[in-house]
Amino acid sequence: GAGVSQTPSNKVTEKGKYVELRCDPISGHTALYWYRQSLGQGPEFLIYFQGTGAADDSGLPNDRFFAVRPEGSVSTLKIQRTERGDSAVYLCASSRRGGSDTQYFGPGTRLTVL
């Protein structure tokens, strides 16, 4: 079956611009996670959705970052006023119910802020 997909695969933008990153989880998975991976580091948690609601957004670094999942499937991560420090690979993962269920990761979106 189809795995987790993310678009675009690469995004280059200029400092100060707004970007949106999209995640399509595995069908039927109620849990969705966003992580950010900087070069040479492990992924860092950003936000967790259970259904349509953001159950844990403790990893969002500041109020420039926001994410939605309006219908409980596709999610969009939104970054306002991008900064060079936002450059990283943004990973999305989904699992059946959350908790200890296996998380399946997408290929990521590589964001470069010039």
Partner: protein, 114 residues
């Protein structure tokens, strides 16, 4: 707060030799433990996980990891590596009482040489 430390950033090894990738974690509460693998140009995949029961867990491709509660470790081992095992390996934990958000180590690059 929880943290994960992978003690080696790179591990070079010859084909058919044994290997151990070390992982230690810090947590005041019980955790679930995971190893994820990222092959070149691919997304993160679950390799194995410890939830409960036997402290020794195995993957389908010959890796095993042992949960050691007293030493707060979850080292990954393989008795004989193949060239195809070349990848980056990430150790991760999640709280048993939590949403499933993963806390990752920095990663270990396993380089298998012919």
């Amino acid at each position: 707060a929880q943290s994960v430390t992978q003690l080696d950033s790179q591990v070079p090894v010859f084909e058919e030799a044994p290997v151990e990738l070390r992982c230690n974690y810090s947590s005041s509460v019980s955790v679930y433990l995971f190893w994820y693998v990222q092959y070149p140009n691919q997304g993160l995949q679950l390799l194995l996980k410890y939830l409960s029961g036997s402290t020794l867990v195995e993957s389908i491709n010959g890796f095993e990891a042992e949960f050691n509660k007293s030493q707060t470790s979850f080292h990954l081992r393989k008795p004989s590596v193949h060239i195809s095992d070349t990848a980056e390996y990430f150790c991760a934990v999640t709280l048993r009482s939590n949403t499933g958000k993963l806390i990752f180590g920095q990663g270990t690059t396993l380089q298998v040489k012919p």
